[in-house]
C-alpha cells in the first residue's frame, strides 16, 4: 500500500469515527497513531503519541488558552453582557430594530472579552431575548441576530480558533489577534446594516422601544468603560510588544476579575463556575490540539499534504479558484462538523497548499474564522442556534434557522470583501513591531 493510500484511508476513517460519536480528540489521536504505525513503525508511532501529548500539554505558547478563557468566563459570570447590552440599548433602543442593533454591538463588545461563540451566544441570548420579546420583536429576527452576532466572539480578539490556528501553523498569535479586529468591526457593521434593511422592508419586525434621557445614556456608559479600557490595555500591550500573548491573557483575566470584585458583580459561586468552565474548555482544547498534532505527524510522514500541495500547484487553474474551492469545502464541512474539529483536521493537510499558492497565512486564518462563524449558524449542526434554542425554549428551531439567513448573507459579503481587499485583515498586523 502506498503512503498516499494510507493517508487517504486515514482521512476517511477519521471522518467515519467522528460520525460514530467518538470524541474528536480521541479519534484523531487513535487514527494518527495507527496510521503512523502503518506508514512507519509501531515503536515510532507509540513514541510520537507520548511525545506529542507531553509537548502539547507543557507548551508555553498554549498557556495563553486558559488565561484568555478565564478572562471570558469571568466576564460571562460577572454580568458584563448585561451592562454592554444596557448601554447599547440606551443609545439605540428608540430606533426601528434598535434592540437588535444593540444586541449586535453588545455582542461585538463582549467578543472583546470572550473567545468562544457558544459562551457569547448563551450570555447575550439570556440578556437580550427577554427584552426583545417584551417589545414584541419578531422571534425570527431576535433569535437570528443574537445567534449570528454571538459568532463575533471568534473574530474579535481574543479568539480560541485564532489561538488554535496560530499554534498549529506557528504564526504569531498577536498578529492573528490584530488581524481579526478590522474584519470583526466590518462584520458588526454588516450585521447592523442587515437589521436596518430588514426593518425598513418590514417595520413590523421590530417596533421601537422606550427612549432614554442623555443622563441615562451617559450613566450606562460608566458600566462598560473599564472593560473597554482593559481591552485596549491587553490588545495594545500585545500590539506594541509589552506582553507575550500569555501575559496579555493573564492581565486580561486578572483585570476582569479585579473589575468584577470592585463592582461586586461576581459571586463566589460565579467565580467557582468561571474556574470550572476554564478548566473544562482548556482540557477540551488541549486534547484536541494533541490529537491533531498526532494526526498531523501521521499526515506528514505519508507526505500526503506535500504531494497534494505539489499536485494543486501544478494544476493550470488560478490560485484564487483553489482558494474558493477550499472555502467551499469549509462551508460544506462546517454544516456537518464542529468548527474546531474541522479546522484541526484540515489545517495539517491544507496548510502546505495555501502557503505554496502564495496566500498569506494570517489572512487565511481570518478567512478560516469567518467560515467557522458561518458554520456555527448553518443547519444542521449550527451550534449557536442550539444554544439560542436552549435560551428561547418556546421558539421553534426552524424559526431560528430562518432568522439567521439574512446574517449569513452578510457574512458572505464580508468574505467577498476580505478576498478582494486582504488589507482589511493585514493592515493592523503590518503595523505591529
Amino acid at each position: 500500500m502506498s503512503q498516499s493510500t494510507i493517508a487517504i484511508i486515514g482521512i476517511v476513517l477519521v471522518i467515519i469515527i467522528f460520525l460514530l460519536r467518538m470524541p474528536v480528540a480521541y479519534a484523531m489521536g487513535l487514527v494518527g497513531m495507527v496510521g503512523f504505525a502503518l506508514a512507519s513503525s509501531i515503536e515510532g508511532s507509540f513514541r510520537i503519541v507520548a511525545k506529542d501529548i507531553w509537548a502539547t500539554f507543557s507548551s508555553y505558547s498554549l498557556s495563553v488558552v486558559p488565561m484568555f478563557i478565564f478572562m471570558g468566563t469571568v466576564a460571562f459570570y460577572s454580568g458584563t453582557s448585561g451592562r454592554l447590552f444596557d448601554a447599547a440599548h440606551k443609545f439605540l433602543g428608540r430606533l426601528p430594530g434598535g434592540l437588535a442593533l444593540a444586541t449586535v454591538f453588545a455582542c461585538a463588545g463582549f467578543g472583546a472579552m470572550c473567545g468562544s461563540t457558544n459562551a457569547e451566544a448563551a450570555a447575550m441570548g439570556k440578556v437580550t431575548l427577554p427584552e426583545m420579546k417584551r417589545y414584541k420583536y419578531d422571534d425570527s429576527l431576535a433569535t437570528g441576530c443574537v445567534a449570528a452576532a454571538g459568532s463575533l466572539a471568534i473574530m474579535i480578539p481574543p479568539s480560541t480558533i485564532l489561538i488554535l490556528y496560530g499554534v498549529m501553523v506557528q504564526e504569531s498569535i498577536g498578529k492573528l489577534f490584530l488581524a481579526g479586529i478590522l474584519p470583526g468591526i466590518l462584520l458588526t457593521i454588516l450585521f447592523a446594516l442587515t437589521i436596518v434593511i430588514l426593518c425598513r422592508l418590514k417595520p413590523g419586525l421590530a417596533p421601537p422601544a422606550a427612549g432614554s434621557t442623555w443622563m441615562e445614556k451617559l450613566k450606562s456608559l460608566s458600566g462598560i468603560i473599564e472593560m473597554l479600557l482593559l481591552f485596549v490595555l491587553v490588545m495594545g500591550g500585545l500590539f506594541v510588544g509589552w506582553f507575550t500573548p500569555t501575559e496579555a491573557g493573564a492581565i486580561g483575566a486578572a483585570g476582569a476579575l479585579a473589575i468584577a470584585l470592585v463592582r461586586r458583580t461576581l459571586s463566589w459561586q460565579g467565580f467557582w463556575h468561571a474556574l470550572e468552565d476554564t478548566t473544562q474548555i482548556t482540557a477540551m482544547v488541549f486534547l484536541i490540539i494533541a490529537g491533531a498534532t498526532i494526526f498531523g505527524h501521521f499526515m506528514a510522514i505519508t507526505r500526503a499534504p506535500f504531494t497534494l500541495s505539489e499536485f494543486v500547484g501544478g494544476l493550470s487553474i488560478p490560485p484564487m479558484a483553489v482558494m474558493l474551492l477550499i472555502i467551499l469545502l469549509y462551508l460544506i464541512g462546517g454544516c456537518f462538523m464542529d468548527s474546531l474539529a474541522l479546522i484541526t483536521l484540515t489545517i495539517p493537510i491544507l496548510y502546505p497548499v495555501i502557503t505554496n499558492l502564495g496566500f498569506n497565512p494570517i489572512w487565511f486564518g481570518v478567512i478560516i474564522v469567518l467560515v467557522a462563524e458561518m458554520g456555527v449558524i448553518t443547519p444542521p449542526v449550527g451550534v449557536n442556534v442550539y444554544v439560542i434554542k436552549g435560551v428561547a425554549k418556546d421558539v421553534p428551531l426552524q424559526t431560528i434557522f430562518r432568522g439567521i439567513f439574512p446574517f449569513l448573507y452578510a457574512e458572505i459579503i464580508c468574505a467577498i470583501l476580505l478576498i478582494i481587499f486582504p488589507k482589511i485583515a493585514l493592515f493592523l498586523p503590518g503595523l505591529m513591531k
Binding site: 460520525l19 460519536r21 480521541y26 487513535l30 513514541r47 507520548a50 507531553w54 486558559p66 488565561m67 476554564t278
Partner: protein
C-alpha cells in the same frame, strides 16, 4: 453501577478542583512577573513554572471534562439511530478509546522513565520532567475510568436496559 459512577464523578471532580487552583496560580504568577519586570526584575523561571503548571492543570482536568461530556463529539449521525444500535456502536467506540488511552498512559510512563534516566529538566530551574509525565499518565488512567463508565452505560443501552 451507581456506586462506580459516584466514585468516578467524585475522584474526577476532586482533581478538577486542583486544576482550578492551577489556573489561578498561573494567572497570579504571570501577572506578578509582568509587574515585577516593570518595577524591579523578572521572577526567575516563570517560563518553566508556566509550562509545568499548564501541563498539570490540563492533565488534572481531563477526566472531569470527559465525565461532563466536554470533549467535542459529532452527534449528527448517531442521534438518528435507534437506542440499541447507539449502544452497540458506543460500546465499540469506548473500547477503542480505552485501548488508545492505555497505550498513551503506558508510553508516557516509558517516556518519563527515559527522561528520568537521562536527567532531562527544564531550562532555567532544572525542574525534572519525569514526575509530570507520570502525573499525565495517571490522569489518562482517570480518564479511562470515565470511559469505562461510559462503556458500561453503552452496553446497558445495547442490551435494552
Amino acid at each position: 453501577m451507581e456506586t462506580f459512577e459516584r466514585f468516578v464523578k467524585r475522584i474526577s471532580r476532586f482533581f478538577d478542583y486542583v486544576a482550578r487552583f492551577g489556573v489561578l496560580a498561573m494567572m497570579i504568577l504571570v501577572v506578578a512577573n509582568v509587574i515585577l519586570r516593570i518595577v524591579w526584575k523578572s521572577i526567575v523561571g516563570t517560563y518553566d513554572y508556566v509550562c509545568i503548571i499548564g501541563a498539570v492543570l490540563v492533565a488534572l482536568a481531563l477526566a472531569y471534562c470527559g465525565y461532563k461530556k466536554g470533549h467535542i463529539e459529532i452527534e449528527i449521525l448517531m442521534s438518528q439511530l435507534p437506542e440499541r444500535i447507539q449502544g452497540i456502536i458506543g460500546s465499540i467506540v469506548n473500547l477503542l478509546s480505552l485501548g488508545f488511552f492505555s497505550i498513551v498512559a503506558w508510553q508516557l510512563v516509558l517516556l518519563g522513565n527515559e527522561m528520568r534516566q537521562k536527567g532531562e529538566t527544564t531550562m532555567t530551574l532544572y525542574l525534572p520532567f519525569h514526575p509530570y509525565l507520570y502525573l499525565i499518565a495517571f490522569c489518562c488512567g482517570l480518564l479511562m475510568l470515565v470511559i469505562l463508565l461510559q462503556f458500561f452505560k453503552s452496553v446497558g443501552k445495547a442490551m435494552g436496559k
